[in-house]
């Protein structure tokens, strides 16, 4: 597991194997169940990522679940559409980052969770449904295949087929990810502007 502070690292090009999760509508209650939200810091969430899918009710490893299958590995999670739906819990992003994922690839992300990932230096990459299903196929055929995610050029490449796609990312967020910056420093610099707005509007 990775200590939280180490996660705020600069993002450039990542080439890695992938962990496939071909399920749609994976909600944040599955990513991190509510009983783990009682923490008062950001540590240890990686241990509880997909807890109730990784472990059965007796606390034994569920051999069928992909995270417990040594065939798969890497720092890229590939998920079915509408990943991260439901609760706004940022703990879900802490769990994904804490486990060691740096990228999540899907054809659709729920809004709040997508923002939470970006704020925690996990890159959500939105691809077309065709690219996604081809990627799941490639991983199935060869679990050791790799994907390259190039943030500066905003491309994602399936190295098994050679197919590549451009992905969207807000320029400001891209800048933050590439330089290890967060939003608060930016906001603190704008205090005068905020007071100006208040004078005009309140």
């Amino acid at each position: 597991m990775i200590k939280y502070k180490a996660m705020k690292q600069k993002f450039n090009v990542i080439t890695s194997k992938c962990v496939p999760l071909p399920l749609e509508n994976v909600d944040t209650d599955q990513i991190i169940p509510a009983r783990f939200l009682k923490a008062t810091d950001k540590e240890g969430f990686g241990d509880n990522l997909f807890r109730d899918w990784r472990y059965d009710k007796n606390g034994n490893l569920n051999k069928d679940f992909v995270l417990n299958d040594p065939t798969y590995g890497g720092c890229i999670l590939v998920a079915g559409k509408n990943f991260g739906s439901g609760s706004s819990r940022e703990h879900a992003a802490w769990a994904i980052a804490g486990y060691g994922f740096r990228v999540v690839i899907s054809s659709f992300f729920a809004d709040i969770h997508k923002n939470n990932e970006l704020n925690n230096f996990v890159l959500p990459v939105v691809v077309s449904e065709d690219f996604l299903s081809e990627l799941f196929e490639s991983i199935k055929c060869n679990p050791k295949m790799e994907v390259e995610v190039d943030l500066p050029n905003q491309t994602v490449t399936n190295k098994a087929t050679g197919n590549s796609e451009q992905f969207e990312i807000n320029r400001y967020k891209k800048h933050c990810l590439m330089n290890g910056l967060d939003d608060i420093d930016y906001l603190l610099q704008s205090r005068d502007m905020i007071e100006g707005w208040e004078k005009k509007n309140k």
Partner: protein, 464 residues
């Protein structure tokens, strides 16, 4: 263009970051104990004080037990989290309504009750059901803990402006059909991602006819369609609801503010990025059958069959049904259930208790049912007793518990055991939401009351 959402959003723009998000001023920040500790820690590590402490209101609700609130919380981890909020609020000089305070309750019930949520405001909280406050005509939405820290530090947030959607619901709702059923219907029609990227304005006869509490229920569930938030333009009902509340403007200030509130509507020429129309006649009492809020049916309908599901969604559909123990094509009316939960920020208000009481009056709770009736706040509890609803409910074999989020997400000890079915007036039926292995069926207070009496899934109209 020229939608009410545009008017409120644009008014609150401090600046637009070049090639980036908007810096939006936030009028109100609500904090509960689950999504704030790390934000306060962040503030402390930066050596910052809250920029506008008067605009921040804190209260615990997720961990609070619904019995024996005068004793220390049994679970030490829960107790620590609640204590942490109290200590943080004190350290940072923020308003705090603790567990035994008469002002305590679920944050999305307390905010509107106290007039802390007002028309034209921008409101955020580290909780996706923050959309609830949209019912008073505010732009209100859920955020993550890092964003809570941003608002504490600067009273601003960086957000991409969502697209706008108007949902018109026309006609008149039939007997036994409530705001909750309207929301469940919309979630099934749109799915849990159908409104992602949009801010929704609810409009039409059905919405105008809804009480304020009905609108609170409707807006509460906006997130379950993936919407950023959802609201209703304020009208005379809104103004009557807000007049005289503790934090509502008073005297000359009220008159002046009212003039401004009356301008808060979408122009006749407003153009939305998407506009959808629905008819009240198509909406009957609803239940969910699956493991996301969009997997729902009318109470007289059957669970869908596999051939009606897209190939890419079939794996999830089958997994859902297996978890719930239902079969494709199965009729759910008459299915035995074990628990009933009335409460949550969705349906924990006085009208919900009135509806439940009206249906169980003179009848008896079924022996096989364990029922948890949890008021959304101490104010709601007080009103329940003033109206004598406690006598009606107790005579029928129900007990009223103490306020909190309770079994909605089971962070306290109100957990549905594995494999048991609950008919719940809350907002999410995800796997394990109400406890590991719990099987949640979302419904309105009337459907919940009917199930509590008969012990099985029942159309409330048969008992009305």
């Amino acid at each position: 263009m020229n939608t009410l959402f545009d008017k409120i959003w644009d008014k609150h723009v401090v600046q637009i970051v070049e090639n980036g998000p908007t810096q939006l001023y936030i009028d109100r920040l609500y904090c509960h104990e689950v999504t704030s500790p790390q934000a306060f820690d962040g503030m402390r590590s930066r050596g910052l004080k809250c920029f506008r402490p008067d605009q921040i209101f804190c209260m615990p609700d997720h961990n609070t037990p619904t019995h024996d609130q005068d004793k220390p919380i049994a679970d030490p981890v829960s107790r620590k989290q609640v204590d942490t909020l109290e200590n943080n609020a004190k350290e940072f000089g923020l308003s705090y309504y603790g567990m035994l305070s008469k002002d305590n309750g679920i944050i999305h019930v307390v905010g509107p009750e106290k007039g802390l949520s007002l028309p034209g405001m921008t409101i955020v909280c580290g909780d996706s059901h923050t959309s609830t406050h949209g019912a008073v005509g505010a732009v209100s939405f859920g955020i993550g803990t890092s964003e809570v820290e941003m608002v504490m530090a600067s009273q601003c947030i960086l957000q991409q402006k969502p697209k706008s959607m108007r949902i018109n619901i026309n006609g008149k709702l039939g007997k036994g059909v409530t705001a909750k059923d309207v929301a469940l219907y919309l979630m099934a029609e749109l799915t849990t991602s159908g409104a992602t990227g949009y801010f929704v304005e609810y409009s039409g006869d059905v919405v105008r006819d809804m009480s304020m509490e009905g609108r609170l229920t409707l807006c509460n569930l906006s997130i379950e369609m993936g919407a950023r938030g959802g609201f209703v333009a304020p009208d005379d009902k809104t103004f009557a609801y807000l007049k005289g509340r503790e934090y509502s403007p008073k005297g000359v200030n009220w008159d002046k503010t009212l003039e401004y509130w009356k301008t808060l509507k979408s122009g006749d020429d407003a153009v939305f990025d998407k506009e959808l129309n629905f008819e009240a006649d198509d909406i009957e009492p609803r239940i969910t059958f699956g493991t996301n809020p969009g997997m729902g049916i009318g109470i007289t309908e059957c669970v869908p069959t596999l051939d009606t599901i897209d190939e890419s969604g079939q794996a999830s559909f089958n997994k859902s049904l297996k978890y719930m123990g239902f079969k494709p094509g199965e009729k759910l009316q008459g299915h035995k259930i074990d628990y009933v939960f009335l409460g949550a920020c969705t349906n924990g208000r006085i009208e919900d208790f009135r509806a439940f009481a009206s249906l169980v009056k003179g009848k008896k709770k079924a022996d096989n049912i364990i029922a948890w009736l949890v008021p959304g706040s101490w104010t709601v509890d007080k009103q329940i007793r003033e109206e004598g609803l406690d006598n009606v409910l107790e005579a029928a074999g129900f007990a009223i518990r103490q306020p909190g989020c309770s079994a909605c997400l089971a962070m306290n000890d109100d957990k549905i055991p594995a494999g048991k079915y609950s008919v719940s007036t809350s907002n999410r039926n995800f796997e394990g939401r109400q406890g590991p292995g719990a099987r949640t069926i979302l419904a309105s207070p009337l459907v919940a009351a009917a199930a509590a009496i008969t012990g099985v899934i029942t159309d409330p109209r048969d008992l009305m």
